[in-house]
């Protein structure tokens, strides 16, 4: 471990990764509307409904009283407040009025003034009121069977495959019904900015961190395993008392160090991300909010329906947890490559090549192939599917909780391969 920690190359690579993440996070930018929603959530809470609407209206009213041109806005807000307490038809009418007023106001402005209007707090208020009063529970009457039928018909799945696909969505239906009962989708999250914010954190930033973590862990493994070979001291080390079993001790060292460096990378990157994008007040929002969603080319945009009940915070921790095991898988793969191929450079590219081949094979296989669905549980495919972890996974996933099954199976398979490789290494000629 000391050798790894004293290596300039590893620290240099870590710094480059952090720098890349800094540039990525700064280029993604801040969403001022999301900031506004976060500010409001402290006063209104995160669960949408009548109480939320009342608190929101009261908050807006309080905010507007602080402004100079409050009189006109107060009367509009009073009118709005009165109308929210009336029946549904009246509520609907006033929403349309508000929307048309907003549209009319905007239509009468020039492009620059229109942009300024869009950045104003009044626009945010009206947008938030409109979004939160128009929102409905997406899981009420949500039918996952249609998804299964569409996938089965589109890809002509037959027999066991079709049955498994339908079973997966039948199980998902129970989850959707539960979520419908508990109004899980009526969660504020970031309101209209939810998809963008969720995408930024879990699609862009987390994916980048995980890929960097994988590369870092592989470099660490190859550095450690290939150290003796590159310094021409193999014959000395392996003829010492420690002997060849030293590679197993190296394995523990590289796994621990790999995780340590990954956590450093994670801490630095997420620390910067959350200092730029403040999530305080939003952590307890449900990720299955009506404002969130995933999409594919077959079904289009649909709710972000997770197998378990996740808040934003628990979803983040769950993603980090699975990513740690994924990095362990890649570390084990790197270990096998390092042991079997003495040249670290060739070892890295053998590993790269094997994973690239796996991805290529998934592109070639017909969509109704059982082997394809099995390959989707490989570490590299799980890495590609990271943005949809803990959901149904789409048309190329056959089982629920695919990410946990995948990393679990991968660790077991890799552990077996590691043991076999270590046994072969003991007998291999080193000269």
């Amino acid at each position: 471990m000391k050798k790894i920690i004293n290596s300039y190359a590893i620290w240099g690579f870590l710094l480059v990764c952090i720098l890349f993440n800094v540039v990525l996070i700064l280029s993604i930018g801040i969403d001022p509307y999301a900031d506004y929603v976060k500010k409001v959530s402290v006063h209104t809470g995160l669960q949408l409904g009548e109480r939320f609407n009342q608190k929101l209206t009261a908050f807006v009213q309080g905010e507007n009283l602080k402004n100079d041109n409050s009189e006109q806005l107060v009367s509009e807000t009073n009118e709005t407040e009165t109308n929210f307490l009336q029946n549904e038809d009246q509520k609907q009418y006033n929403q349309e009025q508000l929307a048309s007023e907003t549209n009319e106001t905007e239509a009468n402005l020039s492009q620059k003034e229109s942009q300024k209007w869009r950045n104003s707090e009044q626009f945010y208020q009206e947008s938030l009121i409109q979004e939160t009063t128009e929102v409905s529970d997406v899981f009420d009457g949500y039918d996952t069977g249609k998804i299964a039928d569409t996938y089965v018909q589109t890809f002509r799945l037959k027999g066991k495959l079709a049955e498994n696909m339908r079973n997966k969505y039948a199980d998902l239906q129970k989850i959707a019904d539960e979520k419908g009962k508990h109004d899980d989708s009526l969660s504020l999250y970031f309101a209209g900015s939810t998809y963008g914010q969720h995408h930024k954190l879990f699609f862009s930033v987390m994916r980048s961190i995980i890929i960097e973590g994988v590369l870092l862990s592989v470099l660490i493994v190859l550095f450690s395993i290939g150290y003796e070979n590159s310094n021409r001291i193999e014959d000395i080390v392996y003829s010492s008392k420690a002997g060849r079993p030293i590679v197993m001790k190296k394995l523990i060292a590289v796994v621990v160090t790999g995780i340590f460096f990954y956590l450093l990378l994670l801490g630095a990157s997420l620390g910067l991300y959350f200092s730029v994008n403040d999530y305080s007040g939003i952590w307890q929002s449900n990720v299955s909010s009506s404002f969130n969603g995933i999409g594919d080319i077959i079904m289009g945009f649909r709710p972000f329906l997770t197998w378990h009940n996740f808040t934003v915070l628990s979803y983040l921790f769950a993603t980090i947890g699975v990513s740690l095991i994924l990095i362990l898988c890649f570390s084990l793969m790197g270990f096998v490559a390092g042991i079997c191929i003495r040249n670290s450079y060739v070892g890295f590219f053998a590993l790269f090549f094997v994973n690239a081949l796996l991805v290529t094979v998934t592109a070639i296989l017909p969509p109704d192939s059982y082997f394809l669905f099995t390959l989707m549980l490989s570490p590299i495919c799980l890495l590609i599917k990271q943005p949809v972890w803990f959901t149904d996974g789409g048309f190329d996933i056959l089982w629920k909780n695919f990410e946990i099954r995948g990393v679990g199976a991968s660790v077991v398979v890799m552990a077996i391969i590691v043991v076999v490789a270590a046994i072969k290494f003991r007998k291999r000629e080193i000269i």
Binding site: A9, L215, L219, G226, S230, N343, Y345, T360, A363
Partner: protein, 411 residues
Amino acid sequence: MKIIWNEMKKIWNLKNIIMIILLSTMCYIVFLQFHIKHYPNGHPQAETLALSTMLTEKYGSTIEPDEFNEFLQMREELVKAADQAIVENSDLAKREIKNYAELQEYENRLSDENATWEDREELQKIMNEFYNLPADTGSGVTEFYSDSEKKKYGSDTPKLAYMLPAFDNIVEKYENGATHLLQSEAPAIYHKRWNDMINTGEWRSPICWEVIENTTQYAQNLVALLMLLSLLCFAPLLTSDRVRKIHLLQYTAKQGRKIIGKQLLAVLISSILLTTTLFLVFGGIYAQNDTQLFWNNYVSSFNGMMTSIPLTFGQYVIVICIMMYLMGIAVSVVAFLLSRFAANYIVLLAGLIPTFVVSVMLCDKLFFNPLNGFKNGIALFDPMVCGIILLVVVVVGVGVLVRERRIDILV
């Protein structure tokens, strides 16, 4: 010369060649094949390309006003074919829609802002029936497509229902005199270029956007492959010598430290060889798309985009190829420099991975619609950036070579 040849043999060994073939094949299957198999992608792209191809085959590289008037008469044939297809379709007949004009009227009525949700669902069903009518429904439509086009499209065969909107779109753009290519608040340089385009008649070129977009996207993917192969093949050249301390022996030879200059030359020649091979192979594969039909058409077109200088499609492709050569050589020199300073393979990898990521991201931006308008107010911005990158890298490379002659070899 012998040293250069031997260094090239180190690069072009059997393992590297196999690796190049395998990685290129995988990259083709995952990324490049899409631009061949699904070209053009979707509707009305297929129809726009079919019309563009027909116009080029019939009228050459420009459409003059009298030729355009002749083209307009084809609309009647298309409408007749649509009328016949509607009459023969029992589902549309059940709704008492007898011809294309009635269908359009029905569409306007149901897409009115006062239409109910049920109206819109009904419209969706009707339009789905119309859009699913096969391309060769009705007489006279099939003569619009050449046999080669029909063979090429596969699942994206031109459809009758999309042909009329595509036709109307082309007509509208031509009749507007390509004014949609110029925004009123654009800087003066855009207005000057647009005026030149109008005065020379470049804008009458029948090339369509789908040809240009598909070609540039193919080039984007190809240049990423070039970056990867350049880094993989050329980076280990000096590192493998340094790891075994062979460079010390090389410097004591008669050649002395000049050898590093010859190694760099070997890398440059190999880079040109690699880029040329990729062009020949993947360019040949891309020729299946028959985009060479548009070789003499100006890219600045009423149906395309406005380039910063007048270029035919052939010249545009050549400029993209030159940009790829420049970037390929630049990345090869960077790989060589990394290789010089990497004491071991892990350091080399730690340098290669960020270099690959940065080079691919850079190429992604440079090869995204190159020469479209005036990026940052400069006419040939993208090729210029490629040239500057190469110049900077070569200057640094020469600096390293000069430094190598003076430094203590024990450093």
